[in-house]
Subunit: 225 residues, 2 copies
Amino acid sequence: MQSLSKTNLADTAVEAIRTDILARRWAIGEKLPNEAALSSMLSVSRGTVREAVRVLASQGYLETRQGSGTYVLSTVDTARPLTMARRAGLRDQFEARLALDVEAARLAALRQTPTTVSRLRALLSARGHSEASDRAAFIISDFAFHQAVIAASNNAVLIGMYDFFSTVIAETIAATLEDDLPEPDMAAHAAIVDAIESGDPDKADAAVRGFMAPVLAALDKLLLS
Amino acid sequence: MQSLSKTNLADTAVEAIRTDILARRWAIGEKLPNEAALSSMLSVSRGTVREAVRVLASQGYLETRQGSGTYVLSTVDTARPLTMARRAGLRDQFEARLALDVEAARLAALRQTPTTVSRLRALLSARGHSEASDRAAFIISDFAFHQAVIAASNNAVLIGMYDFFSTVIAETIAATLEDDLPEPDMAAHAAIVDAIESGDPDKADAAVRGFMAPVLAALDKLLLS
DNA sequence: AATCATAAAGTCATCGGATGACTTTATGAT
DNA sequence: ATCATAAAGTCATCCGATGACTTTATGATT
């Protein structure tokens, strides 16, 4: 098993530069050596350096400015929390997603408008219709509803993170659980929309926690067995 | 303000290919046209195509196999949300971290032990001692305290995410704000520990929200000016 | 001496071509 | 039908050249 070190120069260059960035070799805002210098420092061609730099730029570490140079933008290692979350247990993942859910619902209540509320109601009714018929369609419309709740928070970070955790949790469930978790009923869903419509963040908070409590309880039971 | 459409060919190529991938133009496992073909399809040089493909490969969409071709690996990129988070606004970042903070404090209250509580008190007093003397030392011990609160939740995902957001927020502040944000006083800090010690999650929840409310208010004032 | 338009230098963006390494497919002998 | 080998296909890497853009240096003007 393993080895995976099917090394290619560009990836090696990415890691070399990333390591230096994380080691604070250059301060934030500081300019890296130019492409020719990096090329000779790493003993690879300029084209390879460009591929490496572009990867790091796409990951938010660097920024290149034509005519000026390449600058360090950030030294945060996005890969680490990501892999940690992946390897964590399902219970931890659920708790993290609940944190996002609750905060999103609170913000959604504060920033609620008639438009977003009616959109939520429409999605909820679509979810209801597909419930009886098609299982796959139901899962999709259910997810669409929850996503819309998060979207109503108007917070780009929460929206992105929720997507991330949804995927991670789905993967973990597929890998570790045989049995299904209970799906809250229509009333629990409607309670969330009502709370958002009321504009009261504490109510929205409580609605989401009430929604998730039975799911978490069932999860604990499954994990113990 | 802004425009950010400082288009360059490689990024345009990345988006063009990513769009096709998300539109399921090629099935998972299917081979993309070779570099020369992509090059003429997109009307860019082969080098530019390579930069684009490597970015998408680094994001988990594609995989290139030397001598064989480039293949679609997945149509979802889990790292994207975190990269987005890094580029989001400060208010969004704070709200996301608050979500983690609150949930962590709730869990810390539920899972509290005499050991963790006394450790928190020790860190808090260390923070108090360094307050007067050394600014740098104070920041470190303040951060250590907050980290310990999160750690008391015993949730690996929350711990990792909190680290991530702390760094991201610090970097965003350094890049965008001139003035300092207010630092909650000792009483506000102690209230969090007390709430955790009480074992009441709602109390912990309220303590953290009360702790952060003035900071968020000050942030809004700064962002408006 | 200070200001400002302009030239020069520095740097990334993009291109095209060439060679090597590796994989897949076609070939042909057995 | 099998299998070793050749051929073709494809990515990996390098090199050199030109263009576009930014920063710095220059020098004339006031």
